[in-house]
Amino acid sequence: MSTAISARGLVKRYGAVTALDGLDLDVPEGTVLGLLGPNGAGKTTAVRIFATLLTADAGEVRVADIDVRREPNKVRRVIGLTGQYAGVDENLTGRENLEMVGGLYHLERQWVRHRASELLERFALVEAANRPLKTYSGGMRRRLDLAASLVAKPAILFLDEPTTGLDPRSRLDLWAVIEDLVAEGTTVLLTTQYLDEADRLADDIVVIDQGRAIAQGSSDELKDRVGGDRVEVVARSMDQLADIEKALASIARGSAVIDPDQRTVVVPVTGGTGTLLEALRVLDSAGLHLDDIALRRPTLDDVFLSLTGHAAQASQEGS
């Protein structure tokens, strides 16, 4: 299996801000790589460099084995990009947008017309095809945006936070579409702030923080590294937080996180729902009163906390 996207020692600075600080990554052909990180981690900067919109200050990038810096136009023929901001024209209809993009890919008009119909059908936009985009909902617009990046049947697709700002239903729809594309053999690099999105779509996840890859692996591997699931307890009163932490120490697989404002204690655990019963048992026998208790999957915050020691807050805007 050959490498569709590879980056070595990627550096990009904006004045005093270092957006990328020696990023390395490889995406094998036909796989999905999830680039996971908080706002300002450098995800968008990386995608913009891969998609020829920005040039790196240092490092080497190859897309489809073409040097991005040397032959950007050759790269543009084989990639599709869906950015965070809709790359479509508000005043054109859905069909016009797709045909415009096809024309700018220098594809034959007849072929483009046909391809546009195919995509409109696939993305359930046939009825809206001849309406200006102004009348589209957010989800429809995202779907059209994705369709626009697929006009030339690109072998490599970049999706920059494809579902940010979408309602849950549209999000699920878009996931299904991306899964179809992957099944057809498209290589996808997607950035996301959501672990569940990376979990569902990506074969491999690179966690990125302050412009550097801090962890890489499948979602299971990453979750194991952050210590599996979490038991989250909401105490009835503030003064029991420490006691709760002490009681849960017997089942915890790592250090607890206490949030006095929310009156919560969160501990990493392994072993599924059985652990929840165990937790209830130890808390009950210690005579502690709870408002709520839950077992949940690790979130991006948990991953960050355990990998970096700091929370996944937006470090620096402007990636």
């Binding site: 790359g87 415009m100 700018l104 594809l107 072929w111």
Partner: protein
């Protein structure tokens, strides 16, 4: 189901490199032109302002400004045409500034298209807009008493010269637009240079009414020679003759000015576009 005539794999059309620049430019221009019938407000304001200008100048100043060899209204119209086409180029400034703040530019920059096409498309759609506005103005002019005296072919030549001048100005406007941080600034900056350009000229008053130093500036203002060339082609009064090459050879000087503007600002604008990145 795919029809048998269309292959599953993308088929690429072939043409020479410069051919793609025009092909891509036209696609981008169509994008802008398609918007026009869908946003009728654009037309309302694009047309109402020049028409108001015609009426104001014709009736307010019409009696106050004497022009040798004809009426002020006949003198005025070529000036109003030129002013309108000048201000029309501000569309390019605002349009490009607007694109810069949107994701569509990322889309364009990720496509294997000609890098001059986004700017070329804007300046091209500007000419089309300009032509439509001009047609409305011509009828307004005819209604207030302006006439074409030298026949239709020369009048068409006058309009063609003005549109070519407008195209050249649009490249200056494009270059300005690519430096704009947002559309609010573009709305002001896009217009500001057009006031001296259009008013410091023979558009509304004959050149001999200016003080000497200002007269030299107005005389060498290429817009003055475009206006004079048009007046001559329409057979309208031109005011008392003044000075040097721009006013004795207005047609040649106008063409020269357009070519120089294009030679300077096409490369500047294209280079700036290549370097600008939406975010």
């Amino acid at each position: 189901m795919t029809s048998p005539s269309v292959s599953a794999e993308p088929t690429r059309a072939r043409r020479p490199l410069w051919g793609w620049a025009f092909h891509d430019g036209w696609i981008v221009a169509l994008r802008d032109l398609r918007k026009l019938p869908r946003v009728p407000e654009i037309w309302f304001f694009a047309l109402i302002q020049p028409v108001i200008f015609v009426l104001l100048f014709a009736f307010v100043f019409g009696g106050a400004i004497p022009v040798e060899g004809g009426s002020y209204r006949e003198f005025l119209m070529a000036g109003i045409f030129a002013q309108t086409i000048g201000f029309n180029s501000a569309n390019t400034t605002v349009g490009l500034a607007d694109d810069l703040t949107k994701g569509i530019l990322d889309r364009f920059r990720s496509l294997p298209m000609s890098s001059s096409a986004v700017v070329l498309g804007r300046t091209t759609s500007d000419i089309v807009r300009g032509l439509i506005t001009l047609i409305v103005l011509i009828f307004t002019g005819l209604a207030v008493g302006w006439r074409i005296h030298n026949g239709l072919p020369k009048a068409v030549l006058a309009v063609a010269l003005l549109l070519f001048f407008g195209f050249a100005l649009s490249w200056i406007a494009a270059w300005i637009g690519l430096y704009m941080p947002n559309t609010e600034v573009a709305n002001t900056a896009g217009l500001i240079w057009l006031f001296p350009l259009t008013f410091l000229s023979n558009s509304f008053v004959p050149l001999d009414t200016y003080p000497a130093w200002l007269q030299t500036i107005a005389e060498w203002n290429p817009l003055s020679s475009v206006v004079l060339a048009m007046r001559q082609l329409f057979g309208n009064p031109v005011g008392p003759p003044v000075g040097g090459f721009p006013q004795t050879q207005p047609f040649a000087y106008s063409l020269l000015a357009c070519v120089v503007i294009l030679l300077v600002f096409v490369p500047l604008a294209v280079r700036k576009y290549r370097r600008s990145s939406a975010r």
